[in-house]
């Protein structure tokens, strides 16, 4: 059709010009509106929309990092993380038949109703159905192929040693964070950094993994402890046996490498099994060797004697008037269990005379006496970095009364933890050098602090050897084939500021005395029954652990094998 030929009326030509202009403007505005909207959506609002869009099918899941392994000094695993699977669901996406639901509930070990309850909560798009399922069961769950239900890899911590190492290692929570013990104190090193990964969900709610890794997980590093798992076991078995035999409240044992200050074993009884996920009772969780203070009693005397020897007024054979076993200081009486007119310095240690120790302490000024104790590490943290360590407190020498100085000389009125006490004995094993204690394996032996002269340290060690000989307080601490040097301790317990007839029995010693390799400290809290002296309760445990540990380490003998002498019927008990 040819429009040009159509005749046009004048009225049509007279259409007002504004109409086309209006149309033109309208079109232009519409276009501008659309453009603006497009710019808004594509540019300014883009991020939000993109995010919403991704949220429809994308999920970011966490990729857990492997927690470092804890091994003993010989590389034996003490705590290992193994992968397990956790089953999680996205409730909106779950579609399953009643039969599948039943199977699922059975596999994850929940009742049908529990599963239903978890899945009916639509407010979250992530719900754990069951955490830490063994891989075998997890595979069966994924074989059910229920949309919206997926697996997530996690790690679970296992402790092959169980209760033998539980106080030492502590445990981790379900999220793999250390909660107690070494797991807690070395969290920064052991714990890895979880990574994240983007996944997409298909039409039916299944997760298609490995779309992109946003952040690779950073694995935790392994930690080698100074612990020797064989000695740890020996120590644990012995302390358990002793506590049960004497119906005691508790007991602790510490084994140190005398040369390097490394902790070779640290165990307590009662304890718990760290593999068990139920939170143990608080009193079982306490690592008493580190977190509990006790009055050391006579195990303090060697430090008093060493300070007195250093002071120059005493020699090992200096005779001290022990006042027939009763001596009055500042209106208070100090007693010995056995009345002796006089004893040499060496005999004061051997027979554990309180009067003798008090006299030696009072020959020193309070300042020198207190300084010598604090130099030995009393009243300060051991540096083991064990969580919750109790350091005890030393009295200020300025307010120290003579009677207090006298009682402190035999370990009353001062509290220590067992690790502190064991560590202090390193001075007698290392020619007067106090070693720092550590729970980590050391490649080079740590340098200690020189406190006493070589001569003083050796003289005190010789006196400590007399303690285990007949006539001393601890013949039961003898070990076949090795010379032993050590000291017993028996102290009354304090209750509401008063000493009561309940005791703490202890023994700290080292062997072989000619060149000490190990220090073993044993503490038994409230042995019930007629035997409560350190020499009767703690010394046999010391002997068993020391003997077995020295044999385990192939330490050469320094005494003939028939060196163990029959103890006299009546063992001298030190004053409690």
């Amino acid at each position: 059709m040819n429009y040009a030929t159509v005749p046009q009326t004048s009225s049509q030509q007279a259409l007002p010009a504004w109409r086309s202009r209006v149309l033109y403007v309208l079109l232009l505005t519409g276009m501008a509106g659309l453009l603006a909207r497009a710019v808004y959506l594509q540019g300014i609002h883009n991020d939000f929309l993109q995010q919403k869009g991704d949220a429809r099918y994308g999920r970011v899941i966490e990729v857990p990092a492997h927690r470092g392994m804890i091994t003993d000094r010989n590389g034996e695993p003490l705590a290992v993380s193994t992968p397990v699977e956790s089953v999680w669901a996205s409730p909106q996406d779950v579609e399953m038949t009643a039969k599948q639901a039943k199977q699922l509930a059975q596999l994850v070990g929940l009742s049908d109703a529990e599963v239903k309850a978890k899945l009916s909560d639509d407010s979250h798009d992530f719900v754990f159905l069951k955490r830490q399922l063994p891989p075998e069961q997890a595979r069966q769950v994924s074989l059910l192929g229920i949309p919206g239900i997926s697996l997530q890899r996690e790690y679970r911590r296992y402790y092959p040693g169980g209760e033998v190492t539980s106080h030492l290692l502590g445990f981790t929570d379900v999220d793999d964070n250390g909660r107690e013990g070494i797991e807690f104190s070395l969290q920064a090193k052991l714990g890895g950094k979880a990574g994240s990964q983007q996944v997409i969900k298909d039409r039916r709610g299944h997760i298609v993994e490995d779309v992109a890794s946003l952040r690779a997980p950073k694995e935790g590093s392994d930690v080698a402890l100074s612990i020797d798992s064989k000695i740890q076991f020996l120590a644990f078995r012995e302390i358990k046996q002793v506590v049960e035999q004497h119906h005691a409240k508790a007991g602790s044992i510490v084994v140190l490498d005398a040369k390097s200050g490394e902790v070779l074993a640290l165990a307590n009884w009662p304890t718990y099994n760290s593999n068990n996920r139920n939170k143990p009772a608080l009193n079982l969780m306490r690592n008493r060797a580190v977190t509990d203070l006790f009055e050391p009693g006579s195990t303090m005397k060697p430090f008093t004697v060493a300070a007195a020897l250093e002071g120059g007024k005493f020699k090992p054979d200096t005779v001290i008037n022990t006042e027939n076993g009763v001596w009055t200081v500042g209106g208070r009486k100090i007693h010995d269990t056995h009345q002796k007119r006089s004893l040499t310095v060496a005999q004061v240690i051997q027979q554990s005379s309180n009067v003798g120790a008090a006299k030696m302490a009072l020959s020193l000024t309070p300042q020198i006496f207190c300084r010598s104790l604090s130099e030995n590490g009393f009243g300060a943290a051991t540096g083991s970095e064990f969580p919750g360590e109790a350091t005890g407190k030393l009295r200020d020498y300025k307010t120290l009364r003579p009677i207090e100085q006298a009682t402190m000389s035999y370990g009353n009125g001062i509290s220590v933890n067992l690790l502190q006490l064991a560590r202090a004995y390193t001075v007698f094993a290392n020619g007067g050098e106090l070693k720092p204690v550590t729970l980590l394996k050391q490649e080079i032996p740590a340098v200690g602090i020189k406190i006493y002269s070589e001569t003083t340290a050796r003289e005190v060690r010789d006196m400590l050897e007399l303690v285990v000989k007949p006539g001393g307080t601890a013949p039961l601490a003898q070990v076949a084939g090795y010379r032993v040097a050590g000291k017993t301790g028996t102290s009354h317990k304090l209750q509401n500021g008063k000493y009561v007839d309940r005791y703490v029995a202890s023994f700290v010693g080292m062997a072989p005395a000619s060149n000490p390799r190990l220090i073993v400290a044993v503490m038994v809290d409230e042995p019930a029954g007629s035997e409560y002296y350190g020499g009767l309760v703690a010394a046999p445990a010391f002997s068993n652990v020391m003997g077995a540990a020295l044999r385990t380490l192939d330490v050469p003998y320094d005494a003939p094998l028939n060196n163990v002498l029959q103890a006299p019927k009546e063992i001298i008990g030190e004053d409690a």
């Binding site: 695993p77 290992v80 993380s81 193994t82 092959p160 490995d210 094998l561 028939n562």
Partner: protein, 75 residues
């Protein structure tokens, strides 16, 4: 086109290998755990004592061979 196809194939292969590595990792962890549980001193000791009837030698049952070849011990 060819290179894209190749890249996809390689990616799938990589995923498979990763999967295998992961499975081996699981297996290794399990075996490690199993081994360390089997060799705990407590278990070894009870097996030695009960099944094999072993015991610690008394000091008079021990002979020592010195480095010069002399055998010592107590009768």
């Amino acid at each position: 086109m060819t290179s894209q196809h190749k890249a996809r194939k390689l990616f799938v292969e990589l995923q498979n290998e990763k999967e295998r590595a992961q499975q081996m990792d699981v297996e290794w962890g399990r075996l490690q755990l199993e081994q360390s549980t089997l060799v705990t001193p407590g278990r070894v000791e009870s097996l030695a004592r009960q099944q094999l009837q072993m015991h610690m030698p008394q000091s008079d049952q021990i002979r020592y061979i010195r480095s010069n070849g002399v055998v010592t011990g107590l009768q």
